[in-house]
């Protein structure tokens, strides 16, 4: 694939990773692959913004070479030091040792830790400008969106925002732009990215978006470091982010369970039936067989979380317990929760789930339902009614 000119004199020189299926360890399932976007700006100073994963160094260099000899790079803007963007940097620096790096103070510190050198990176702060010829680049520090070193680069002359991971999606495509791709898949991946990487950082993101909107700058294109470039309607993704940072939800419930001998599963299905008949959208997941990345995605706009587990060793089952770690620090405002489960003798799963909900600041909407061994008809009816009652609370009819 040839480099793609995204604006006159600005080229995408990144790489498409069609095959990646799990991202940073096993924390994120990338079913649709991803891309590492890198941008080359041809001006008096040849400037490269963002990088690629080490294994794609060759592809990046090949694309740069189609436009300009790699040695000609004058400036490299390091918006973020995570290996998916800095991995190819050591190799690149061997080819253009005179290139000058720009990044945040945390970026300088992090690069030294990761590569044993910071290549003399010059520290920049919010509002600082770098003239590269006809264009000026303005830096906007964006700590914890999503690492302390993160930074956005803005080019006023091009009305172009280069926000690195923010507004990105793990979505491998042959198309580079939002107007050339399936909108449903695009927004699904954008939401999934927010839910899995940015959700706990919503407070910082809301402030940063507010700060940028107050700067009154014109943004006609947003070119993130992963996935599709937003050019048809850049405000669409900004507004989605604003909605997600506000924890805006819809009448929707997510039922997540883990079962040993099927009793907790029977309960989960009855609760789901009740929710469905109560008129709300429901998703049901057996957490042991589900893709956690997708479950988090489905939770992002859900008003109600329902968790169920059999009791094992006086507590909840370990796959669910591991999944619920995710709620730690999430503080998903404006949500309601409920718990259910089965046990043989003394139950422990329900108090454990209730504790997680409490710590996450999720209000328990109804008393939890616990059954011994196998639910009987009355108990299954109670589960169904729990679903119906939850639906009323979700839709505000109770």
């Amino acid at each position: 694939m040839r480099p793609v000119e995204i604006k006159k004199g600005i080229y995408w020189v990144g790489a498409v990773d069609w095959d990646i299926r799990t991202f940073h360890g096993n924390t994120y399932s990338t079913k649709r692959g991803t891309t590492y976007n890198s941008y080359l700006i041809i001006d008096d100073k040849v400037t490269l913004v963002d990088g690629v994963l080490a294994s794609f160094a060759g592809e990046q260099i090949e694309r740069i070479r189609e436009i300009v000899p790699v040695e000609k790079i004058d400036y490299i803007i390091v918006n973020h030091i995570e290996p998916d963007h800095s991995g190819a940097l050591p190799g690149l620096m061997k080819l253009c040792p005179k290139a000058k790096l720009f990044g945040t103070a945390k970026s300088k510190e992090g690069l030294s830790r990761m590569y044993g050198t910071d290549w003399g990176l010059q520290v920049v702060k919010t509002g600082e400008k770098l003239n590269i010829g006809k264009r000026n680049l303005t830096f906007i520090e964006a700590p914890m969106i999503h690492w302390p070193d993160s930074m956005f680069t803005y080019c006023a002359e091009e009305e172009l925002l280069l926000p690195n991971d923010a507004f990105g999606q793990h979505y491998a495509t042959s198309e580079r732009f939002d107007d050339g791709t399936d909108q449903c898949a695009l927004m699904d991946e954008a939401g999934k990215y927010y839910a899995n990487i940015l959700w706990p950082l919503g407070g910082m993101i809301a402030r940063k978006i507010d700060e940028i909107l107050k700067m009154n700058i014109s943004i006609k294109m947003i070119a993130p470091s992963h996935g599709i470039i937003w050019r048809r309607d850049p405000m669409k993704i900004i507004n989605s982010y604003i909605s997600w940072t506000k924890n805006e939800t819809k009448p929707k419930a997510v039922v997540i369970f883990e079962t040993m001998w099927g009793s907790t599963e029977m309960m989960a299905r009855k609760i789901t039936e009740g929710l469905t008949d109560g008129g709300v959208e429901v998703k049901l997941f057996d957490i042991t067989r589900s893709d956690r990345t997708e479950v988090n995605n489905q939770m992002l706009d859900a008003r109600c979380f329902v968790f169920g587990s059999s009791t094992h060793d006086n507590g909840m089952l370990s796959t669910l317990a591991g999944f619920l770690e995710f709620l730690n620090g999430l503080k998903p405002k404006g949500r309601i929760g409920a718990a259910f489960g089965s046990c043989g003798w003394a139950g422990g799963a329900i108090p454990a789930i209730e504790q997680v909900l409490k710590e996450a600041g999720i209000e328990l909407a109804l008393p939890s339902i616990s059954v011994k061994y196998v639910p009987d008809q009355d108990e299954l009816k109670k589960c169904y009614e729990m679903g119906v009652e939850l639906a009323k609370k979700i839709t505000g009819k109770a």
Partner: protein, 52 residues
């Protein structure tokens, strides 16, 4: 003196230690930190801290 935790990254501001990275002297209570002070680990502003 109360300690404060950064709700974004978990860093704890301990007044007994201050914040040498920002030239904040040991013994400086949290409410005496300048409004421009940010979390030395992650850059979160003062408002995003909560009392431990």
């Amino acid at each position: 003196m109360d300690k404060y935790r950064c709700t974004v990254c978990g860093y704890i501001y301990d007044p007994a230690l201050g914040d040498p990275t920002a030239s904040i002297a040991a013994g400086t209570p949290f409410d005496k930190l300048p409004a421009t002070w940010v979390c030395p680990e992650c850059g979160a502003p003062k408002e995003m801290f909560e009392k431990v």
